[in-house]
Every structure is written in structure tokens, then in C-alpha cells.
Symmetry: C2
Subunit: 188 residues, 2 copies
Amino acid sequence: MKYCTECGQTLEWKTPAGDNLERLVCTSCAAVHYQNPRIITGCVAQWQGRVLLCRRAIEPRTGSWTVPAGYMENGESMEQAALREAREETGADIRLDALYSVFDIQAINQVYIIYRGVMRSPHIAAGVECSEVRLFEPAEIPWNELFYPAMGEMLERYQSDLARGRFTLYTGTSVSGRVSSIDKDQVQ
Amino acid sequence: MKYCTECGQTLEWKTPAGDNLERLVCTSCAAVHYQNPRIITGCVAQWQGRVLLCRRAIEPRTGSWTVPAGYMENGESMEQAALREAREETGADIRLDALYSVFDIQAINQVYIIYRGVMRSPHIAAGVECSEVRLFEPAEIPWNELFYPAMGEMLERYQSDLARGRFTLYTGTSVSGRVSSIDKDQVQ
């Protein structure tokens, strides 16, 4: 970010009056340009005990497997955003049942808001950002090819929750790929 | 947003290739400028059954009461952001116990991530963005002077949860000031 979105002039790092952090401030009109974490919404969904994953056809980590998820857009609710991403990436028709995970990846300024749900039919079709979509039996999950470690931790918990029929909220901050939290084990 | 942050030239609304939404795209360098919802983190905290609220000294709704909360910054975890906001606005030293509420206000592109916690001491001191900070007994809460309706709904639930000693996750999308959700009543 180099230029002001309001007047097109150059920006400089500066602490605005009343603030305590350096921001990108316009050298001409003094507009302050805040930068904040972005939200990724998605869902972990199943069909008769098999979990829905898609394989990334885009960077980063092209070829890795993940639950359908993507950036939440302005103008949508969290649930709408999660369902839209699932539909776009996997073609699946999903009924969301509950919020399942809220975690941040502090190092890259992202917050994940993930629901759990059940597919209304086994129909799937890879979207433009995916090379493949598949339903995995618990024993088949490609643990070594997942998008990133927190995704693996969430899927491990999901499999265990699914097997016992009781779900716990998975929330916290991702540190070295594991989610460390004040309330990981809360019953939901 | 009128000018490109990368080259300073003018922007136009346009659907980039492979996208299905109009974005602000630079007429010169073709950089796409995404706009996404922002996250507000905070906490509802108590001291011996009294809930901590602060009175806004800034727009919007100057003079209204709210739980300490504000924009999450790049580089912090959700929990760090919630504690920082509470400290800045109320001076309180809080122990976060659990995630309490995750809801969006779709109309203004905001997602709220609110924890619940307990104050380690009754010390409070209004920060620069507050005109007053106070601990309220359940019967004293200024219901008609709260920041917005979803805040009132969350505080009603919090009081009820606190009284019975069992907390439920408050999550969903704010429609006409009430939070409508798939899983409002899940036990946490």
C-alpha cells in the first residue's frame, strides 16, 4: 500500500493523534488507512460419516486438501458466506448445524469462522478454484497433504466428535500450527 | 475508495476474470482492491456479579453504554485484541474464560467476537474513548441507553446465564437488532 485511496497521493507511516499505533497516513489529505485481519468462512461437512474436502487448484499450497472456505465478502452474513464458499468450491448442498471453530492465524492476519454441517445429497462437483472434490472415510483422510496444520487438528477433533456424537467448539490462536486456547474443550 | 493503493491511478468497478463479483480495479495497473468485513473483539466481564460497561465518548452513538470492544488489529490474536480493548477502554485487568459470542451485523460489514471473563480486581478507569466506566448490578443495566439492540440481547442472555451458572454461545446474524441463528441455544 503506497498511495492514498481518497486522493491518490503518497502515504507515510505515522501515529495519528489519539492513536497508539503507526498507520499509513496520507501526506496530502491526512486520511488514515487502517489494515485489519480478514475473515475466512467455511464449513466441515459430512455425508453418511464421510467428510467433504477439496483440493486446491490455486496458490498458496496448490494440491493440498482443505475444507471448503474462503474470504467473507461485504454484504453477507457469516452463514451465507460459509454456504457460498462450500457451494462454489464443492457444488455441495449443505445444511449448517452449528458454529464449530473460530481461530486466528495471527502471523498472517486471518480469522477462521468454520461451521459444521450435513450434506443434503452426495452430489459434488469441483469449482474453478479446486482440482478435485471428494468425500473421505475417516481412515482415508490425507493427513500429510492438508492445507496447514491447524486444519489437520480441526479434522482430527471433528472425526473424534463425530464418532462420539458430541461436538466441542474448537477455538483459539494458531501457534506453530496447533491451536492454543482458553476454551478448546468447552462443550458446545 | 477512489485511487489505486499500488500506483495512485483511478479505480473502476469491474468483475475481474475468474471472479463473480464487481471489485474496485485499477484502470492503470489492474490491481484488484478487495473490501471485506472487519472484526470487532471485546469482552463481557464481571466483578462479583456486576457487569463492566463503558460509555462511548466517540461517534457513533456517543453517550451510549457498551461492553469494551473495538477493531482487531493486524498482528494480534483474538484474545489479545479483546484484552487490549478492555484494558484501553476500562482499565480493567480481566481473565478471559471462554468465547461467548460470535455474530455479524451484515448491514455494516462487521463481525463481533466477544469473550466472557472475570475481573481480577474492581479497579476501573475510563480510557480516552470513554466518558465513564461502571460496574452494573443486573437491575441497574441501562437497557434503553445501550449501543445497539444486539448488545442488549447479548447482555440479557449473559445475565440469565450468569444467574444459572451455565453459559450458552450466542452466535448468528443480527437482523433488525435481534440475532437470528442456527445455533443460539447450544450449550457451551
